[in-house]
């Protein structure tokens, strides 16, 4: 074909000449090329843009472009827009370099259809080696490309399918959905659905179309395969039901557990036709089952499943173990229920219409050993999907231990209850039979419950007492102490042993001894009637008092007799000597009489002090001086056979006490010592400073630590055993024969020491002697100046004309006083009662001082003084009073210019007082 109608006019001539040259060069080959079936084209690189100068018919055929449309254009006009730029660049580069090149490019035919063009382009050179043309051959390789694409697509599709299958397998596994199969026994062919295929890793399409029956075993794990082959053989041999679990090996090597459930279908001649079934992925279920099995075994939980209407129950191994049965998976209901003890609920309820959940506990006798066990069964009735019946699914487990503990607990409780009941009964009996008062009181002290003893003892009914306060009928004198104790118990303190009187309904008081026991915000009280005891105590005290008085009077009489003997004897002797005219020794007798009389006076004074508990009159005392001053008295008190030694300490501290009492105490101790040494011995009186430190004091609870002055009186006498020592300070305790001691001596010493904030210690050993130490507190002040008057001194003497009126009904005393006044140079007037004294006072006589007894018949001393003051306002008065009356003339009694002196008094005292009063005016 020649190029005649080429549209590319500008090149036309050049192209034509190029073709001519081609023909010239190629010669006859050109014709062959022209007619060749191989599509080819020739371009001339010497012309601009290397245009096509020749194409053959075959080229036009595959490109759709006739020669006249192709010639004059560059070959690239055929390239599709999506041609690979790299390929076209490669072609361009080869042509420019004059190399040959082979390439496949996507071209577009004239009608617009694309095709793959495999090109081979080779340069044609002239004799001198210059490139004059490019020859290109073309080959449509679209089909090859298509095949490749299809193959690629196919591969992609397969991959996608695999992935889908994989996903499906997972989905099925998760969903538990099954794949189904149908095994055509006659044709040995297996049809399976997509799910089955997914699990087996089969091509679903092929599987749906039908595969050889043996494929059924293909994916089964080798270890499971024989087993399944046997089972399938059973089905093929006429067995009906197929239910097997086995492992499948997935294409990726992973294992899945499946459960295949199938059934054989038979023809009318009972020949097996088809074997159909469902395959379920139970991998997860297996894990769960395994865990469940372990949990059940570990927990001792047996499971069962019962379809109503059936005679047997599906059971687990653990279920059989719990009942002591041979391991099996099905048991008759009757067998199971027969193990339950009569009267207990059955394991499996068979009555229809049951639903929901059910729980029961029952005892069984184990089948193997008859042992009794407690079991619990928990189950649920569910609608059975397959049979539309009711399925009872549940568990049993052993609760024997729990039941036993429960039982023990119950027994214990029962025992406890009965014990409590018994105890309560006992308590009740105690409560109702006791003669003691029992009551329960609330937090405010109100009775909330009382026992019958209240009625019996006090006559109050229960309703009269309950609700009243504890102190409702308390004796007024006991109210204070009762309140104290109530407060204590309501604070939570236990209170024991306190006595108080309660008024009974009849008005009489009963002594009750109470014990309170607090209990939370209430308290219990127990009261014992101690009225009789109190009465007995009173009687005892009375008799003790009488005894004491007897002893006292006896002792006093003894002491007085001694003293009176001294006085009377002395006076006797005085009289005798005076009548004999031998007056040289009279004074000695008078002194002796005086001493005895003084002692008698001191005795009565002490008695009164003891009786009255007279307060002490503490002053600073130098114990050394006091003891020394007593030496004469002591020597006269003790017998000749006793040696007296005084050991005063140097630098002795002062002490603060009542000197009279101290004197009395020493005298008492000396007398005791004397009496302890009937056969003679040594009496030692020592003084010393004594320091009691805190440590020692703590062991002697009644003594405060500090400095003390100690006065110890020791004898070498009989001593005392410990039990006597222990009682030595008790009042009225005496070891002396009746009538020889008051029993007050040591008791008074003790009382004095304690009152002086000191203490007394006795050290005694039988046969060796006794030491009594009196400790008196140290005094840091100055010594009081004590004027110790002796005899009627000149200072007491009256001045000229001083007149004293004495009114005293007791003539001896009056005479004594008058005599003293006379001795002192006073003018003395006398009256023996108030009225006569008053008449003297009404006279114009000079009277400087009225000395009057307080207790006068008719007009007492006080009244007399008052009258006298009306007449003589500035009259000074000295009252004489017996000790007993002192109380009656306490402070306020004495006005200015009035004083008082207590009987018995020393004459010297009287003289100094009289002088003192008169001088003060």
């Amino acid at each position: 074909m020649t190029v005649r109608n080429s549209p590319q006019q500008p090149h036309r001539r050049a192209i034509e000449s190029a073709v001519d040259e081609l023909r010239r060069q190629a010669g006859p080959i050109f014709t062959a090329l022209e007619q060749s079936g191989l599509p080819l084209a020739i371009t001339d690189p010497r012309l601009p843009d290397n245009p096509v100068v020749f194409v053959n018919d075959a080229f036009s055929e595959i490109t759709g472009y006739p020669a006249e449309e192709a010639i004059g254009r560059n070959g690239r006009f055929m390239q599709a827009p999506e041609s690979d730029p790299a390929t076209t660049a490669r072609i361009r580069a080869a042509i420019e370099a004059g190399r040959e090149i082979s390439a496949e490019v996507l071209n577009v035919r004239k009608d617009g259809t694309p095709y793959w063009n495999r090109m081979f382009i080779a340069p044609i050179r002239d004799a001198s080696g210059n490139i004059i043309f490019f020859l290109s051959t073309h080959f449509d390789v679209t089909q090859v490309h298509e095949a490749e694409r299809i193959h690629r697509d196919l591969q992609t599709g397969q991959k996608k399918l695999d992935e889908t299958n994989e996903r499906l397998r997972f989905t099925l596994a998760v969903a538990g959905a099954g794949g189904s199969w149908e095994w055509d026994i006659v044709n040995q062919c297996l049809n399976a659905d997509a799910r089955f295929s997914a699990l087996y890793g089969l091509d679903p399409i092929e599987a749906a179309r039908g595969v050889p029956a043996d494929v059924f075993f293909s994916a089964i794990h080798p270890e499971d395969r024989p087993r399944i082959r046997i089972a399938v053989a059973g089905i093929l041999g006429g067995a009906e039901i197929f239910s097997k679990e086995y492992r499948l090996v997935a294409p990726d090597g992973s294992l899945r557990w499946v459960h295949a459930r199938g059934r054989c279908h038979f023809d009318e001649n009972d020949q097996p036709l088809r074997f159909t079934g469902v395959l379920v992925d139970i991998t997860e279920q297996k894990h769960v089952e395994e865990r469940l099995r372990i949990a059940q075994t570990a927990g001792g939980i047996g499971t069962f499943e019962y379809v109503q209407g059936f005679g047997t129950v599906s059971v687990s191994d653990e279920f059989c173990r719990l009942l002591g049965l041979h391991l099996t998976n099905a048991l008759p209901v009757r067998t199971i229920n027969a193990l339950v003890m009569p009267g207990d609920p059955p394991v499996i309820e068979q009555s229809p219409g049951l639903e929901g959940t059910s729980y029961a506990e029952f005892r069984i006798a184990r089948s193997d050993n008859g042992e009794h066990r407690w079991l619990a069964r928990r189950g649920e009735y569910v609608q059975d999907v397959e049979t539309a019946g009711i399925r009872f699914i549940g568990v049993v487990y052993d609760i024997t231990t729990a039941k036993q503990s429960e039982e023990r607990l119950r027994e214990l409780n029962e025992k406890l209850e009965s014990r409590v009941e018994e105890r309560t009964r006992e308590r009740d009996r105690l409560w109702s039979l006791s003669s003691d008062l029992f009551s329960v009181c609330d937090g405010h002290g109100h009775h909330t419950a009382i026992n019958p003893a209240w009625t019996e003892l006090l006559g109050y009914r229960e309703d009269e007492v309950v609700g009243t306060r504890f102190d409702a009928w308390v004796h007024p004198e006991d109210e204070a102490s009762t309140h104290e104790h109530l407060k204590a118990v309501l604070r939570g303190d236990a209170v024991g042993d306190f006595d108080m009187r309660l008024r009974a309904k009849d008005g009489a008081y009963r002594w009750i001894n109470w014990t309170f026991a607090p209990a939370g915000d209430m308290f219990y009280s127990v009261g014992r009637d101690v009225t009789q005891r109190k009465q007995l105590e009173d009687q005892l005290r009375q008799s003790q008092k009488m005894e004491a008085i007897g002893q006292l009077t006896g002792g006093i009489a003894h002491d007085f007799n001694n003293l009176l003997t001294g006085i009377v004897g002395s006076l006797d002797l005085m009289q005798t000597r005076i009548s004999q005219g031998r007056t040289e020794n009279v004074e000695r007798y008078a002194k002796a009489a005086m001493t005895s009389a003084n002692r008698a006076a001191a005795l009565t004074h002490r008695l009164l002090a003891f009786a009255r508990r007279q307060p002490l009159d503490p002053r600073s005392v130098d114990a050394n001086r006091l003891v020394t001053s007593m030496e004469d008295l002591l020597r006269r008190t003790i017998s000749e056979s006793i040696q007296l030694e005084l050991v005063p300490s140097d630098n002795l501290w002062l002490t603060l006490c009542d000197p009279n009492q101290l004197e009395s105490a020493i005298l008492n101790l000396a007398i005791n010592a004397r009496d302890a040494m009937p056969d003679g011995g040594k009496l030692t009186i020592e003084t010393s400073n004594f320091h009691l430190d805190a440590a020692s004091a703590s062991t002697q609870q009644d003594v405060a630590p500090g400095h003390y002055v100690a006065i110890s009186v020791s004898d070498t006498g009989t001593g005392m055993p410990a039990d006597i020592v222990a009682q030595a300070f008790d009042p009225f305790f005496t070891t002396k024969p009746l009538g020889e001691g008051t029993g007050l001596g040591l008791s008074m010493v003790y009382g004095f020491a304690k009152q002086s904030e000191g203490h007394v210690r006795i050290y005694s050993e039988v046969g060796k002697g006794t030491t009594v130490n009196v400790y008196l507190p140290r005094y840091h002040g100055e010594l009081d100046d004590q004027d110790v008057p002796s005899g009627l001194r000149q200072a007491h003497r009256a001045e000229a004309g001083e007149t004293v009126l004495v009114v005293e009904d007791e003539p001896v005393v009056r005479g004594l006083i008058l005599e003293v006044l006379g001795d002192l140079g006073y003018r003395a007037l006398e009256a023996d009662d108030g009225p006569s004294g008053l008449s003297v006072l009404e006279s114009k006589q000079r009277i400087d001082l009225l000395v009057t007894d307080v207790g006068l018949p008719g007009l007492n001393g006080r009244q007399l003084a008052d009258h006298a003051r009306l007449l003589r306002p500035n009259l000074r008065v000295l009252f004489i009073t017996g000790y007993a009356e002192k109380a009656a003339i306490s402070s306020g009694f004495l006005e200015a210019g009035m004083e008082m002196i207590t009987k018995p008094f020393a004459v010297d005292d009287l003289a100094s007082r009289i002088r003192h009063i008169i001088e003060r005016s």
Binding site: P222, P226, A239, T312, H326, T328, N329
Partner: protein
């Protein structure tokens, strides 16, 4: 229980399957006879002494039992028993012959009906098994016997040598009827050995060479699990 003759797991599976086939057939026969669903348990296979076998039954059924017994001989020999609690046997009869009969008629027919039912079930079962093992069995006529577990298993099996029997039992129960029972097969040791060989042949047939490779690989673990 000590076992002289040990079945491999595969043999046990195979035997179970054989019994399953037989019993399936029997159950389907029974189903056809009484028109109710029949539930079968998976067969349990034990090799134990007759005493243990009777205890096994005893612990399930304390009362009197009725059994239909058939003896079989051939490649292997033994007795097959279809056992019911006595109190349900009449129910079975009634189920088989229909409800329209009076109690007296039912009682009259009991022996015969039981024997026939037993024959259908046992014969079906045994024949199927023999067929699968490609052997034939001579099966005696059924006889109905009554007694408790010991009687059925001990006195009736005085011949047992070695004191061991294959005790194969299946519970079955019939829906909506209080009917349940067991199928037991008693074989002595020589018969057991023969049966074992037949089973091995059966496995060989069914599984082929696959077994060789697998069983040699799996024997240890299988035996281990067996004894567990």
């Amino acid at each position: 229980m000590s076992v002289d003759i040990a079945l491999s797991e595969l043999e046990r599976d195979a035997l179970t399957e054989l019994v399953n086939i037989g019993v399936s057939r029997a159950a389907s026969s029974l189903r056809k006879m009484i028109g109710e669903e029949v539930i079968l348990s998976v067969p349990a296979i034990e090799i134990l002494s007759p005493k243990d076998a009777s205890r096994l039954i005893e612990e399930r059924e304390a009362g009197q039992l009725v059994a239909v017994r058939q003896q079989f001989e051939g490649a292997f020999a033994g007795r097959a028993l279809l056992i019911f609690p006595e109190e349900t046997s009449l129910d079975l009869v009634r189920a088989v012959v229909g409800n329209q009969l009076s109690p007296d008629e039912v009682a009259e027919m009991e022996q015969e009906a039981l024997a026939e039912t037993g024959n259908v079930i046992l014969n079906g079962c045994l024949a199927t098994m023999a067929n699968m093992l490609k052997r034939s069995l001579d099966i005696s006529l059924p006889e109905v016997i009554r007694g408790d577990g010991p009687l059925l298993f001990e006195l009736l099996h005085q011949r047992a040598e070695g004191g061991l029997v294959l005790f194969l039992y299946i519970n079955f129960s019939v829906r909506n009827r209080d009917i349940r029972g067991y199928i037991a097969m008693l074989m002595d040791l020589p018969s057991l050995a023969a049966l074992q060989q037949l089973i091995a042949d059966f496995i060989e047939r069914v599984v082929g060479k696959e077994v060789e490779s697998v069983s040699s690989k799996g024997t240890d673990s299988q035996n281990a699990s067996w004894q567990a």
